[in-house]
Subunit: 189 residues, 2 copies
């Protein structure tokens, strides 16, 4: 049975969110995989991957990192990122997450990389963004926020594989002074 | 109140899919926008944009189009595209949709463009893909499938603005023989 991930927890859909009836889990006619289906009101409850949008906030060769004040990976370092909201563009989402988690404002965002995380039904889109000034302060979800030079990056203390992968690629691109758009698959959290 | 779009129809979430209780629509503590919340089991029912993955199937300067056999835009032309499924990479989704809608196989996919459709809470990712041969046939969702040269493209009969925008950009890039990655906002269906 298909499992839904929300905030790192696994849920199974049981009731119709339209009429409150118990759902079936079966392959509907013409479909090729089982879904949660309401036999009372006829609605198929599709579940699809969620997008996470994030930013590599840049200033004079340094990158702004934040240390997580929330689970999972409490205390580990990352770059600002979070779920894209309804009604929001991907750039606006990355700008919002950067402001919420680091107190910093970024502009002139450029798409950097897109990553499949099929094991948790997520897609990550990472931008590069220019910090408008050096103001930053930890938001509610961060313990600490800091600008790191490349040699200061806490590689062993990074929160997520996708962030490690994106940053490795980013620093390679910086050597080449060329930033092509990347697409990749991440296999573990 | 937030509206959920499924298959072109608008739904409002009413019941908890975990316990079947009636939901509240309110701003939870520490959040910045209203969500559907279950006051019985405490779950917040987040709703986020869905990803559509599609492909520009290429062969010797021609592109494979399909004419829709389903609503919306029955009878209009488009390129293969559909919702990304859980557990599926973006490339695999675009390959699957191309096979389902046109009967054709594509390989060597390259990301072409990413589009915000905030008015329907969707993100489109379009790849370019190489047709492995000229075999194609209409699937259940297509009336007709055809390889078009640029001068044959039925611009006035295209199904969606996002497809029109992506294809305009694509043919411009072909003139330049250079395909940078694009990101854009689409304002209408």
């Amino acid at each position: 049975m298909q499992t839904i991930f929300k905030g790192g927890k696994a849920f199974i859909v049981k009731y119709c969110n339209q009429c409150g009836s118990k759902l079936s889990y079966r392959i509907s006619k013409g479909d090729d995989r089982p879904r949660f289906i309401c036999d009372v009101c006829g609605i198929i409850h599709y579940e699809n991957p969620k997008m996470v949008v994030g930013c590599i906030p840049e200033m004079e060769g340094r990158v702004l990192f934040c240390r997580r004040a929330i689970r999972p990976r409490y205390g580990k370092w990352t770059i600002p990122a979070g779920y894209l909201e309804n009604g929001e563009t991907m750039e606006a989402g990355a700008i919002r997450e950067t402001l919420e988690e680091t107190g910093a404002k970024v502009e002139a965002l450029k798409p950097f990389g897109l990553y499949n995380l099929t094991f948790i039904n997520q897609v990550y889109l990472i931008f590069r963004g220019r910090l408008i000034d050096d103001h930053h302060q930890a938001g509610n979800e961060s313990l600490e926020v800091r600008l790191f030079k490349e040699e200061e990056v806490p590689w062993a203390e990074l929160a997520f594989s996708v962030i490690r992968e994106a940053l490795h690629t980013y620093y390679q691109d910086r050597l080449n002074e060329f930033f092509p758009f990347h697409i990749g698959d991440i296999q573990e959290a």
